[in-house]
Symmetry: C3
Subunit: 352 residues, 3 copies
């Protein structure tokens, strides 16, 4: 159960560099490729000739060529040619609205008529030279909502990431959750604490001392369908915390785009955008590596949690104050799912 | 859905050399072994004592001995003895008609009464010293009919086997399909072209120049249930093509016996029979190695195609002129399936 | 289908040394850990907060701490604390009766009210310095009753363990089975035979000649739910066999505790208790290694047998005299299952 009339991150541009990419999104097998003039395209990964996945083929002159018998597919899902054949009467396959923006490729698996590119979230840091971004992709065997829960309750850092970003003060500071339309914001502020190892390194990366008391903040912002952007940082204690001048702090935005693959698996695009030393590629790489290691620590527990929930589907879970962000995010998701169902019952039924 | 009252290739003699072989054919678990006087035998792979697979046991004096408690099974499916037991009242297991012929072991999983060895296809090259044969076995996760389609439409060579036997001229020459009783023949002729790498090597193997224009042919012959023999070759251009004298051509027969394991997997026995330099074992080995590499290129696409068809079972596929061979072959298969069902509804039901 | 109101071996103490252990027993996911004062505890492996497996967490001061958000679980299944939370109203999870005894940890997955520790079998050798014990654990993909059958019919040694403990004389000597209440005893005696390799080594380990005729015995004792203890040994021929004075024999007790994991998989605790040279740890290790190798030989055939029975569920198996022990053991099990069902239909239904 996931919203369909929405943009999901499907892949990054490097994944379709010179070759098509087959990827299941929202239970649909889709092939992504660069069509004419380098424009990104997405069609069903199913050749109308004999059903072979088009993603096993190759791209030639902006057409996707089936690797089995050479049918040429255009970005519109219409067969453009086939050796020795007249293709005019060939059945088309479904083409998906797809956009390349902010360093990601976004796909819309719902009603194509509603696919307005203006609905793609604005990511100011993606197009601002004062910012740098590095990230990666994990495949995780869990419902996308379990990952939203995870990111909206950073209490888990104390346990799952004890050696890097976790510290006891996190769970000692109660988070606060508020809802603003479709956006859910969970904030936590910790004052006059010592910085954990990851943030010590970030302070050094920003030429600040790493052994002095800091104020630390985490502001998690959920927006539908399943994006979580988290403003995180530390400032030398007493300089204003999140509002401190740039020279006293190390801060960044944790980026999380969660794309359902199936009902119990996701493509998890994670990364970090920062606005200090943006031109330092070596720093970008080091941060990505560190973040990748930390975020990999979540995978085992999320997949085990999913298995437990599948085995005991009727168990009610607790909803504590720390779960507020996840709970509110699910309410937003549930409302959207309901709206989609009532707007177009037949489409939703197919979408299942 | 596969014909049952027919002979399938079960294995090659080397596979039962000194030990039994457990293999599922047409959804039935069967154990093959050499019984008395070296005669091949096939019985259910299920010990009537406690249900252990007999194929984990061993052969002693022509009896198949269960590796668990020593029950001795005869080629007839009757228990011949067991240590410390009177076996006269023991239940029998099913024995399958089985024949060793033409270098293969053939099994009949349908009604044993109809199992006439005369129905095993005649393979003239298998017993003719002017011919040599080399081949191998692949396990492939697809319906046997997808492999028949593959072999009856060699257009795919241009895409799947681009570096060895594929060449653009294949798809530029329309194939022709005709049906002769149960036999389906799809032929393609290409004139005055350059030989692709595999055939250049074959020309050299037959002491012919490899850099001159050739005429090339492919004559695919399907016979039920799922045998495809393909006459292929090249002759120096203008010497008569497929009918050219032997000293001007390199030709051979591609041999394909496709045995259903389950509804979506097969045992694929492939090989090549040739009538030039038959005594050159080193050439046989080299051809087999080359063919094995080429035929392995089909596996990924066939298995991916099968997965696509399982995910979208209601999609209609195209039937183009190039698909004529496969389409006609399926008509023959469908007719046989229908005949089997109407002849013996209860047996067919069991066979499912 | 397994008895629930009974004690099963869940694990050995070393498996919960310093960390919790997640293990499925009788289809229930359970976490075992050392609670306050080192007492063993067992609760559902499901954190009431968000459903993560508690076994991925850690033990602190006798409490099991969830590795996701720090909920602290007590041995009773009640949440004892959680950072920043009042836990009084938290739902409890199920706690299982569990006992540490005889070097094993025993769990009761049925009605806790009936869990009387006095029902744990008495294992005299486990607490007697005149005896030594060594053993191991195998995970096997078969119904627990197939393993009981295996152990109650040692005829299979001649085939499965031909190079170690098997010998033709086993199948030449008819076994005798008798039932004494819930206990089933199958005995086999062989006189004046040569000792197979494993027993030659044991004779040497007990400073006896290994090249003289011996009397050999195997007395298999099944007790519910699925314990099989086997008195085995050899004595120099004519000295009284199983009743021979200690200086003329090498004997031991094969220990088999079979714990259902699921309907078609088990945790198989195997070992050997001996009363010669008990202080010789090196001998214990050597025997364990030898036994581990021998018992591993059963796994392939048991798992293949299970697959065969799943594929052909309606086949009737033979019940020969050699199967008497297994057949009688199943009768005892069936009676207990029936009793459990009639005593508490609702519990049994849940237990399925």
């Amino acid at each position: 159960m996931f919203p369909k009339n929405t943009w999901y991150v499907a892949c990054t541009p490097d994944e379709i560099d010179g070759k098509p990419l087959g990827r299941t999104v929202c239970n649909e097998k889709i092939v992504f490729f660069r069509a004419e003039e380098g424009k990104v395209a997405a069609v069903e990964d199913f050749c109308p000739h004999r059903g072979a996945p088009l993603s096993l083929g190759f791209v030639r002159d902006g057409q996707l060529v089936c690797g089995y018998h050479g049918l040429e597919m255009s970005c519109s899902g219409k067969c453009s040619s086939m050796p020795g054949q007249r293709v005019r009467g060939f059945p088309s396959i479904r083409a998906y609205p797809v956009e390349e923006r902010h360093g990601f490729i976004w796909v819309w698996t719902g009603d194509a008529e509603q696919a307005d590119p203006a609905l793609i979230p604005e990511l100011h840091w993606a197009n601002d030279p004062a910012w740098a971004y590095g990230g990666g992709l994990y495949h995780v065997g869990c419902d996308y909502r379990l990952m939203v829960d995870n990111l909206m309750d950073l209490t888990h850092e104390t346990y799952v990431h004890a050696s890097s970003i976790g510290q006891p003060e996190i769970e000692e500071s109660a988070p606060e959750t508020k809802v603003d339309g479709d956006e859910v914001i969970t904030s936590r502020y910790m004052e006059n604490i010592s910085a954990p190892p990851f943030w010590q390194a970030a302070l050094r990366g920003n030429n600040l001392p790493d052994d002095q008391p800091v104020d630390r903040w985490q502001v998690c912002r959920f927006t539908p369908p399943s994006h979580v952007l988290i403003d995180v940082g530390v400032a030398l204690a007493g300089k204003g915390g999140i509002d401190a001048p740039a020279e006293f702090k190390a801060s960044s935005t944790v980026v999380d785009f969660i794309t359902p693959e199936t009902d119990t698996s996701i493509w998890y695009f994670w990364g970090m955008a920062r606005n200090f030393n943006p031109e330092d590629q070596e720093l970008t790489d080091r941060i990505r590596e560190g973040q990748g290691t930390i975020f990999a620590e979540d995978l085992e527990i999320l997949e085990a949690q999913q298995q437990n929930l599948l085995k005991y589907p009727d168990r009610k879970l607790l909803m504590l104050n720390i779960d507020g962000g996840g709970v509110q995010a699910r309410r937003v998701i549930d409302r959207i799912l309901k709206e989609e169902q009532s707007a177009s019952p037949s489409t939703s039924a197919k979408a299942g």
